[in-house]
């Protein structure tokens, strides 16, 4: 049996490729409906090229060879001889599924950077604003600032405006001129111009004010401080401006979720942008036999690349050769993903956006001062020791939100770079989804 973990674009493309070649496949996904974060929906997906998602969602719903298990939180996985045992929870009940072949399409989540006031209600990721709107039909706020970097800010801002919210401003930290660094990637992906045009029209239609080279550097319940930023995210002195709003949706690209593949021993590496991703070959095979990995976990590249990688993984998994045109499509989309990294870099200037009291670790309420003290007073020499002294990264989220930031801050205080080993270390954890001790011991919910 073939098991796909993750029901976003990559996982769905893999399952469809497998089923079209006559084999049965099961998809495990944590959400109530297929589509992942990008194709999140209640009744139908809307937005740019939504008909493409409709095709996949329809095929997953109707093809009798595809089984979709929703609401499944996978928390551990192991190899038992020539099979994989995957443990997951559905509404607190522990279940296990076995498979001979695994395709991991676990996706990514927004990367967040700390700034003064980022713990306050009203600050959220663009993904949260998108999930409230697309998944639950609720506007994140009445007057919303969308900020950070990357093309994902466009669907978030235009989605809020289309639903009747006021987008006070869209602040993209980087200059669009950076795209000039990647002429080949642009020429090989002409469809991206159509997408850009689509969003340009939406932005004009809803009169959204886009400003480049700016970002939110502080928040205080009813207003945000928007500052001019250098390409390294340093605040240009004197440029700070107070803007009234009730919500700030701010994100700095994405962090791939590598936990599950890490538990299964799949080799990882550090990408150009510092994110930890899996090492896969041209057919999406991981370093572990019978495990394929597709989508954001092999490098942030967006849904187009995820679809291609998913299809390749699915085909290779059932022994079908990859056509030259599909292989070329992957190369084109990979070049575009590289261009994204070059166009939307996240420099180190954010380290000065926090106050000493700002909580860098939101779960354990560890402040910037606490981390600095652990280095200067207690002699922490890397982020792991700093985390042991302060408990940063040891809360419920298992460091998913803060561990990279803590490492960068500690490295900055010591005047060194974060090593690749340290990056791979903080990106992995022994349990994929935090579960209660009761669930761990007796396999039942702790009611």
């Amino acid at each position: 049996m073939i098991l796909v973990i993750g029901g976003g674009p990559a996982g769905l493309a893999a399952a469809v490729a497998i089923a079209r070649n006559g084999q049965e496949v099961t998809i495990l996904d944590s959400a109530p409906r297929a589509g992942g974060q990008y194709w999140r929906h209640r009744t139908r997906v809307d937005g740019y090229k939504s008909e493409k998602s409709a095709m996949y969602l329809q095929e997953v719903a109707q093809n009798p060879l595809i089984h979709f298990i929703s609401g499944a939180n996978v928390w551990s996985a192991s190899r038992v001889k020539d099979r994989f045992a995957i443990n997951y929870l559905v509404s607190g009940n522990e279940l296990t599924i076995t498979a001979q072949k695994l395709i991991l399409a676990t996706g990514a989540f927004d990367r967040s950077l700390p700034f003064a006031g980022w713990e306050l209600p009203g600050v959220m990721t663009p993904g949260a604003a998108q999930s409230l709107l697309k998944g639950h039909g609720v506007l994140a706020g009445r007057r919303v600032i969308v900020a950070g970097t990357g093309p994902f800010l466009l669907p978030v801002a235009t989605g809020i405006a289309a639903a009747g919210g006021t987008v006070v401003g869209l602040y993209e930290a980087q200059s669009p001129l950076r795209w000039a660094l990647s002429p080949v990637a642009l020429l090989l992906n002409p469809s991206k111009f159509a997408e850009l045009l689509y969003y340009a029209k939406q932005v004009r239609k809803y009169r959204i004010r886009i400003q480049f080279g700016k970002g939110v550097t502080a928040f205080d319940t009813h207003s945000a401080v928007v500052s001019r930023l250098s390409s390294d995210l340093e605040v240009v002195a004197g440029s700070e401006e107070k803007i009234e709003c009730d919500v700030v949706a701010v994100g700095w690209g994405f962090t791939p979720d590598v936990t599950l593949g890490g538990i299964l021993g799949c080799a990882q590496k550090v990408d150009l942008d510092g994110t930890v991703i899996f090492n896969v070959d041209q057919n999406q095979r991981s370093s572990q036999k019978d495990i394929w990995i597709a989508g954001e976990a092999t490098g942030i590249g967006g849904s187009d690349l995820a679809l291609v990688e998913g299809e390749i993984a699915g085909l290779d998994c059932v022994g079908i050769g990859i056509s030259p045109s599909l292989a070329f499509r992957k190369i084109r989309k990979t070049l575009f993903a590289r261009a994204l990294q070059k166009s939307y870099p996240v420099g180190n200037g954010w380290k000065k956006w926090s106050r000493n009291t700002t909580k860098i670790c939101r779960c354990e309420e560890v402040s910037l001062q606490d981390i600095a003290d652990s280095v200067t007073d207690l002699g922490a020499f890397d982020s792991r020791t700093a985390k042991l002294f302060t408990r940063a990264g040891m809360g419920l989220c298992q460091g998913r939100i803060c561990s990279r930031n803590v490492s960068e801050i500690v490295a900055g205080l010591q005047g060194c770079q974060v090593s690749d080993n340290e990056r791979i270390g903080y990106s992995n954890r022994p349990i994929a989804t935090p579960i209660s001790l009761g669930e761990l011991s007796d396999g039942k919910s702790t009611k």
């Binding site: 607190g92 967040s112 713990e119 209600p121 639950h136 939101r362 309420e365």
Partner: protein, 83 residues
């Protein structure tokens, strides 16, 4: 649309639509603060919105640490910030 779902949060009654998460239903009714923190008792709300950050955890029918951005509202659910 189907009938609204009624639930309580910290003793007050709220309503929402079928399939809405606890956080979404509360935010749509201007109840943005979902809990206060352990040490500083600082207010917190939804942050990542997709079950990663655990900032929005509440107690649902006596079960602690439930992510209100993921758990859907059910009729008569008793939700509190703290046990």
């Amino acid at each position: 649309m189907s009938a609204p779902i009624n639930f309580t949060f910290n003793g007050s009654t709220y309503s929402g639509e079928v399939g809405q998460s606890i956080a979404a239903a509360l935010i749509s009714q201007d109840q943005r603060v979902l809990r206060t923190t352990r040490f500083d008792e600082a207010p917190r709300s939804i942050f990542c919105g997709i079950g990663i950050c655990f900032d929005c955890v509440v107690v649902v029918n006596g079960i602690a640490n439930q992510r209100s951005c993921l758990v859907e509202i059910t009729e008569g659910a008793v939700i509190v910030s703290k046990q």
